[in-house]
Amino acid sequence: MNQEAVPQINEKKKFWRTDTKALVGAVVMGIVFVLVQQLTVRIDTLLDPSLNLFNGITWAVFTGLIALVYRQPAGLITGEIQAFVCLISGASPLAPFFILANGLGSLAYSAVAQQFSMERWGHHFLAMLACNFVGNIFVSIGLMVVLKLTLVPAILASLLTIAVGTVGGTIIVKPLAGVVKNSGLV
């Protein structure tokens, strides 16, 4: 393995990471992302498909974790792989909108994470807020176009998903990133 290209999680100001481990890791994590979403999609479908609460938290966790651990373009690749697998496996009718939501959400997370040390809860919260806000803009468009929701319920559903995804994502990603780093597998 090209050890020079493998950064530590707390190494700052490094936006890109293009070693094989990051690229392959991005693909594998994209699939794991879809598989975990199979659990959360079912929970959301039973509760309310337009809210995407548990799906939103899972999305936020994976988007943030991959952007922190494997950086870019791995975050982008994971997001696009998730959207692609979601589309071809028929996992979600909103899958075409995940292409933009995942890609731009991940870039937003990385852009904010780039500005901070990511050692404080506040740093994670801000990165997660940017990621959720950008991503859910496209999901709300999907809710209106595909599921024919009107503007008010689509915006309400997205705002709720942003709130839950930001808080849930922050609470889970910070300790999880530390655990993944300590596992020595990244």
Binding site: T20, T45, K148, T150, L185
Partner: protein, 250 residues
């Protein structure tokens, strides 16, 4: 998802354009009969091509659940059409149910089209198609890799679920499913990180990324009927977009 998933192999370019056509038709279709015909057409194609209908049935069932909830949401929020009833603050408009059905059919078309793509495209074919677009092979192979890893990771996911069930993790009610997300997701995450590390090492040992150019055993070959089908699909997409955005038909 099976390891050998391809039921009706076509050139990946044909499969991609078919997927795009279905998405365009779903987005541009405004009437229930049109969207229903497209959905039924996709189902008929699945029967003819011998694709596993149980997956189509499961997807339809999931979408029926979505339909029920869409009806509830539209009954509460829809303000299109004529007012047909009012109970307190709840006002029911006559377009609520048609909107919910259109949403359901659009979702169903996306889901069916996605399954068609999966059952007609090989990972190698997908790699070659992306290479044709000029993408460097280090990145072009990632989409194909995802098709290869999908059944592998799905099987790991099922084995972890089975292991956790054997340890007493129940996954039947909504509450149990919510509680069961962590005991399943965390081992899967750890296993996938380990697998990614092993795979990356194995790929580098075989010279992945060593040279800028690489050769392939297979080549893409588009059959004559596929070229005709692509032309027809292109016409269908243009017609659908024109009918949607120009005041040609109402």
């Amino acid at each position: 998802m099976e390891t050998n998933h391809v039921r009706f192999a076509v050139d990946p370019r044909t499969a991609t354009i078919f997927l795009l056509t279905c998405i365009v038709l779903a987005f541009s279709g405004k009437s229930i009969p049109f969207l229903a015909i497209v959905s039924l057409g996709l189902l008929f194609l699945a029967v003819v091509q011998g694709q596993p209908l149980d997956l189509f049935a499961k997807a339809t069932l999931l979408m029926v659940l979505v339909l029920i909830q869409l009806i509830i949401i539209q009954l509460i929020f829809c303000r299109e059409g004529n007012l047909v009833g009012q109970w307190g603050v709840l006002r029911i408009y006559d377009q609520a149910i048609p909107f919910a059905v259109i949403g359901f059919l659009r979702g169903l078309i996306m889901v069916f089209a996605g399954l068609h793509f999966y059952f007609s495209t090989t990972p190698g074919g997908l790699n070659l198609m992306l290479l044709k677009t000029g993408l460097p092979y280090r990145y072009a192979m990632l989409a194909g890799l995802s098709l290869r890893f999908l059944p592998v990771m799905a099987s790991e996911f099922l084995s972890i679920m089975a292991s956790q069930r054997a340890r007493g993790v129940a996954l039947y009610t909504v509450r149990e499913k919510i509680k069961g997300v962590f005991p399943i997701a965390l081992p899967l995450l750890y296993r996938s990180l380990r697998r990614a590390t092993d795979t990356a090492l194995a790929m580098e040992m075989r010279g992945f990324g060593k040279g800028k150019e690489r050769t392939f055993l297979d080549e893409l070959h588009m059959k004559g009927w596929e070229k005709g089908a692509i032309a027809l699909m292109a016409v269908a997409m243009v017609a659908a977009v024109l009918l949607r955005f120009l005041p040609l038909g109402s």
